[in-house]
């Protein structure tokens, strides 16, 4: 039951969920939730492959760095969202249509 394909299925589901969130939502923070899901699906893939194919733990390291990068991305992205909100008083993605405020 616990096999590579089941892990890949879960990862696929997470990826699709993330894409759906990013397409369907117009709220920037909600879109960032989708990005987190996508990054997690990638990290899960790495860990699953490394366990079921050669078990040399390089994939774990990749997952670890993906988690680190996701955290940095969330920090900067949310800072931009907050700054955007301070200027425009909205976090709707369609209002972010100008390069300069």
């Amino acid at each position: 039951m616990i096999s590579l394909s089941s892990y890949l299925f879960i990862s696929f589901t997470l990826f699709i969920a993330g894409i759906a969130v990013m397409i369907a939502r117009k709220n920037i923070i909600a879109m960032m939730l989708g990005i987190e899901l996508i990054l997690n699906s990638a990290a899960l893939n790495f860990a699953a492959y490394t366990r079921f194919i050669n078990n040399n733990l390089e994939g774990h390291l990749m997952s670890l760095f993906i988690i680190v990068i996701a955290a940095a991305e969330a920090a900067v992205g949310l800072a931009i969202v907050i700054r955007f909100f301070q200027i425009k008083e909205t976090i709707h993605i369609d209002d972010a249509a100008q390069l300069q405020s």
């Binding site: 670890l64 988690i67 680190v68 955290a71 940095a72 969330a74 920090a75 949310l78 800072a79 907050i82 301070q86």
Partner: protein, 147 residues
């Protein structure tokens, strides 16, 4: 390196289930025992006896965010340093400790740069002191003199 079975995670699941069970049982028993007489006045938010004004879900000061930002950077760096710290003794024992000391010190010093930057820019101050320009100071003085 010892091998283990996944049974070591069993208590974690059992304890989480117990927590859920405790909450369900406690709330259910309370529902049976307690009185239930809701009224509009009871369900008001507590604002020291006044009628509540507006919603509490409004904007907050951005300093909360800056604090959590510094926190997450430290959190991630801690998470990266944990496995290195765990093997430190072994590397020292085989005489390769200098490499680890070097990489750990570089890592920590970058971290220290971050905290020094935030400190010097005042991000770590809860109450930010703003330097008033000379015009503003004079303006304030004028207001004081009038009063």
């Amino acid at each position: 390196m010892t091998s283990y079975t996944l049974d070591v995670y069993m208590p974690v699941i059992i304890l989480m289930a117990l927590a859920v069970g405790l909450v369900v049982v406690a709330v259910f028993v309370a529902q049976v025992l307690r009185p239930f007489k809701p009224s509009a006045l009871k369900e008001q938010a507590y604002e020291c006896g006044e009628d509540p004004v507006g919603t509490a879900w409004s904007n907050f000061n951005v300093r909360f965010y800056v604090v959590s930002l510094v926190f997450i950077v430290f959190d991630v760096e801690g998470a990266l340093m944990f496995p290195v710290a765990a093997i430190f003794r072994k590397f020292v024992a085989i005489g390769e400790g200098a490499v680890l000391v070097g990489s750990l010190l570089v890592f920590i010093s970058v971290l220290v740069f971050g905290i020094i930057y935030c400190w010097s820019k005042g991000d770590l101050d809860w109450v930010r002191s703003f330097q008033l320009s000379e015009d503003q100071v004079n303006q304030l003085k004028g207001i004081e003199e009038k009063a």
